[in-house]
Amino acid sequence: MSDVVEKTLTALPSLLSLDSHSGATKLSSTSKLGNLIRGITELTSKHEEEKLVQRELVSIKEQVSSPNTSMRQMKELMVRAIYCEMLGYETSFSYIHAIKLAQQGTALEKRVGYLAVSLFLNESHELLLLLVNTVLKDLQSTNLIEVCMALTVVGQMFPKDMIPAILPLVEEKLNHPKEIIRRKAVLALYKFYLIAPNQVQHIHNKFRKALCDKDPGVMAASLHIYLQMIQDNPEGYKDLTASFVTILKQVVGGKLPMDFNYHSVPAPWLQIQLLRILSFLGKNDQSSSEIIYEVLDESLRRAEINHNITYAILYECVKCIYTIHPKSELLEKAAKCIGNFVLSPKMNLKYLGLKALTYVVQQDPKLALQHQMTIIECLDHPDLIIKRETLELLFRITNAQNVTVIVEKMLEFLRVNKDDYTTIDLVGKVAELAEKYAPDNEWFIETMSTVFSVGGDVMQPDIPNSFLKLLSEGFDSVEEDRKLRLFAVDSYVSLLQGEPGKLPQRFLQVISWVLGEYSYLSEELEAATVLRLLAKLLDMKSTSSETKSWVLVAMTKLCEGGAGVSVAQEVCETYSSSLDTVLRQRAQELQHLSQDCELRARVLPRDAGLEPLEVDSSLSFLDGFVSEALAAGAAPYKPPHQRQEELAQSKALSLEPYGLSLPISMSSCSIADRQSPTLLSVSSGLSGDSPDLSHKGGSTTLKLDGVKRVWGREGYLSQREPVEESAHVEVPSPLRSPSQQGEAESSHSQTPATTPTPQPEQEKQQLASSLFVGLGSHSSVCLMGKSEPTTQRFRRKAKGPVSPSAASEQISNSLVSTPSTANDLLCNNLLDSSVTSELSVSSPEQTSQLSQGPAAANGTCDVELTDGDVKESSPSLVGGNSVVAADPAPHEDPDRPEGLCLNTHLPAELSGLCHSEITPLCSNQSLDLSACHVQKEDSLALVVFIYNSSDSDIQQILLELDSDELEVSCVCDSAVQGARSHSVAVCQYSLTVKRPSVHVEVVGMVSYQFPVGTPQSVQFSYKLPLTGFIRPLTVSTEEYGTMWLDFSHDTKQKLTLISDGQEPLADTLNVLKKKLQLHVVEIIGMEGIVACRLLRDQPCLMHCRLHAGTLSVWLRSPVPDLPDCLMYHCQRALQEH
């Protein structure tokens, strides 16, 4: 730098000659700023400050515009102006002087000038153009500091249009001998890339040169550009993967100068930048990922110092590991890392841990289970940010079984939340969950009501839209639809009877639509009552005119009977002269239709919401009219864009065409403005929906634009086409009996907020079990990777799991009522949760513990592996327990010996066959139910063990089984009558598949009676994967060929290949064969054919082909759904491998 100083020193005399006041000015000027600052800090009121600053600004303004002010003084004035601007005062008068200062000042003043410019102006400011020349001059300067300043300001902001002017100069600087100049030049180019990427396209090879620069600082700067470019187009830079890995290796290995260390970590910023680049490169690319694995491992290993910066690197590593093609070892390490974050007492790390969990939970739900207690703690964390992040995590693991608890938590948060942005986001999520997983009608309607009241008018408009759509379309059962609507009507009527003034407009609109459409469903509700309630809404000041028109439409649907009509008439009188044309139109409709019952019945038939709404978007009903008009000499219709084009083209010839086109436009106008609105509103009325639905087709045709203009607002379903309706969100089809629903109610009240339990630990445990219930099965859906329809189908069929939770709640309730030790209670709760949740947690030692027991006793066989779900349900209880301070012994004791001794109760004819592990189903103070299934050649035997744990004999045991997917038949000789005290009764059932599903479930109820006492009952459910029903099918290749063509149901998917061995295809098929009992027919080169059957006579064929490192699988079967289910299990089997 000494040369620079020298240069400046030589320039000094001229500097001094400019500045006549020399040192004295300098001192006073510093004190001027000092005085200002001190003056301001001494003031007490905002008003005084304003006066002082205004005075100051006046004096600054005077001085800057005076021709006598030297650049030196100007510099001082600018600093003061910057200060005033920071205080929030307008200083735009000084902007031009800042530019002047940058232009004319010498080094020092220039610097302040540039600073002022970069603080005052932004990229789009027009004054910035005046700076271009200055920058150009300084870039060419021989003074390094001037070049630096120019590059700095270019890197901060530069007008987009002027980039070409300075680009060559900046490029030139990439070869500058000083690294600081090269670095700043690279950053300037980065800025250019951000604001105008195509301007710098031609210099991509220069970026490569910067990447290879000998100075690490320049190289690091070039990574900004690469990160951006790779993010935009990862394919284009795959060849650099190895280079980035090498750089990262060197950095991690400490090869950079010590200078770059930060808290003794080598260049952390550089590391993080590289990790981010690598994660883009390795995403969905196995071969690139493989290059990256090693360095990731190394980074994880090296980052061990307990400092924030190492956590930052670790966090980035974890993100990278989960982004790129998965590798199990690394995933394990990453999971451990996440664990450390989550369990950390530091809030920041905990937050990031939760975030990471949210990120990975869909790939790896086990992690969430491991940390369930921490998650529960975070849910009640005083820090809203942590709480919010936890909810985000819970949102990702929501399923049909834990939805009530999670939604409750979200709503709780929403009620205290003040931030609109969060509200919009969270409200949308609640609505989504409610639609997807609602357990019953009441819950759904109540939740949505809360959503509407909390979300108010900020929420996304599609939430009320899809809610109404859902109500009107209904689902499978007419009766259920009726109940849902009726419940909605009832709850809305009571809301209106309360304080409707407090409800948001959107909610009022929903309410009026529902009441208009469905209030006839309620027998005790009179139309006149509803009409009065609605009329009350119209009178409220807060009601917007949009809402009013909804209300009027609802009233039109309802007005009947003497009282109703009179209310309607009253309303009409007020609004038929309204200045709002929409309201006036509605009022007119109301008036006419209320007087003409017949017409009303035709126009607005009741309950026609189910009818698909047909919007004749071609407007064919106008054909007659159009042909008449054409015959009468009208010109054919032209769309407006065409008209405009023609108009533009023929502007020069304005007179003649103008005269001609006038009648044309008038005729088309008359169609659009006069005729179509009435016709359309009639047509929409015919289909019985709200007139707003008539806008559905609005976007497709031009003529409907006219409609929009007439109504003056968007229809609420305007963006949706009727065609799309089939692809709509599915809704809860509540299958459960009323009694079960009642139990579900009690399960709602089991949330910790409402149940006062003496032990907080138990409370948490309960919450945990209700939150993480069914996570295993949910995760398996996500493991499929994509395909929303599969998820939904799965969900529909898996409706059952709600009832087991109800059953277990019932049991735990009964437990609470009887005196029992806390240990028992906890133990039983855990047992329940294990039954309900079917969690698939299995840490290695837990599995080994279990396999010691039953597996050793009955000889291991392949089948056991396939029944992951069944087998792993008990480990979850271990997993849950390890967090609570409960002794693990009590639950194992009743469990394990029982499992062992139950084996001996297995019916003799089944003892030779492979059977699954005996799983506890449920238990109460007198009964313990367990079950296992046994694979027979053409069916599956379900064996239920009923253990009487009470001291008295039980009589009249009746076991009833039912299943949606299965055919259950009792093996007759196994009917049980009673069980003596402390003995086991065994029932055997034969299961065959009615309808394939990924998991099938049997729901059952045991009713029994003690010698003295009332009959009692226990409910349970047993879930097993479809794989239990799969048997190998031995066919020859020829037979396979003929069968293949006959089958109509098929599915295709790419599966991961097991590529550890020499022959990936054979290895993969062997794993499938082993785990799923498939028969490998033949393997020819890159292709393989496999066959299996579902029990006796339902074949399924599989064709596999190696393709680009993955296995393309094609499944075919005559049975619908079977290919999909099998595909799921194949995928799962391979992933578990």
Binding site: R111, C148, G217, Y262, N348, I385
Partner: protein
């Protein structure tokens, strides 16, 4: 990418502002207001990250001064926290045991240091020595001149 950096006191008085993207004056005022209210309302010992619209806000308090950084959503929060830390270290090194008053009275210096550290919302130089060398090089110029001028030689 860093969107903006704000320094404000415990009383909510703005001490420094650097905007790395084009934002209108009105929007700036709103953001400053939002940030000060949000950050000042935070309890001690809670986490240093906040959400603001689609951005993440990272803040840290040093004595009476709050440093507040807004970053894109996919950015690493912890490293952003270290950006603040590093900036404070740089200030500290330059001013020698920096305090709020140093920044109030020499805010243009604080800006110069910042500009050598961050450019256009990205880290320019992570090496502390390098930043300081750049600042010193410019400063040397200033000091030489000041020395020269304060001499009552003529």
């Amino acid at each position: 990418m860093i969107r903006f950096l704000l320094l404000f006191s415990r009383q909510g008085k703005l001490r420094l502002q650097r905007w790395f993207t084009a934002i209108s004056e009105r929007e700036k005022k709103k953001i400053i207001r939002d940030m000060t209210t949000m950050v000042l309302a935070r309890q001690p010992r809670s986490c240093n990250f906040l959400h603001w619209k689609d951005l993440k806000v990272i803040y840290k308090r040093y004595a009476s001064l709050y440093f507040c950084l807004a970053i894109d959503n996919q950015e690493n929060e912890l490293i952003a926290l270290e950006v603040i830390q590093r900036y404070v270290e740089l200030l500290d090194k330059y001013f020698g045991n920096v305090c709020e008053l140093d920044i109030i009275f020499n805010f243009e210096k604080a800006y110069f240091i910042l500009d050598e550290f961050l450019i256009g919302g990205e880290i320019q130089e992570t090496s502390k020595q390098m930043v300081n060398r750049a600042i010193e090089a410019s400063d040397m110029l200033q000091e030489t001149m000041e020395e020269y001028m304060s001499k009552p030689a003529f």
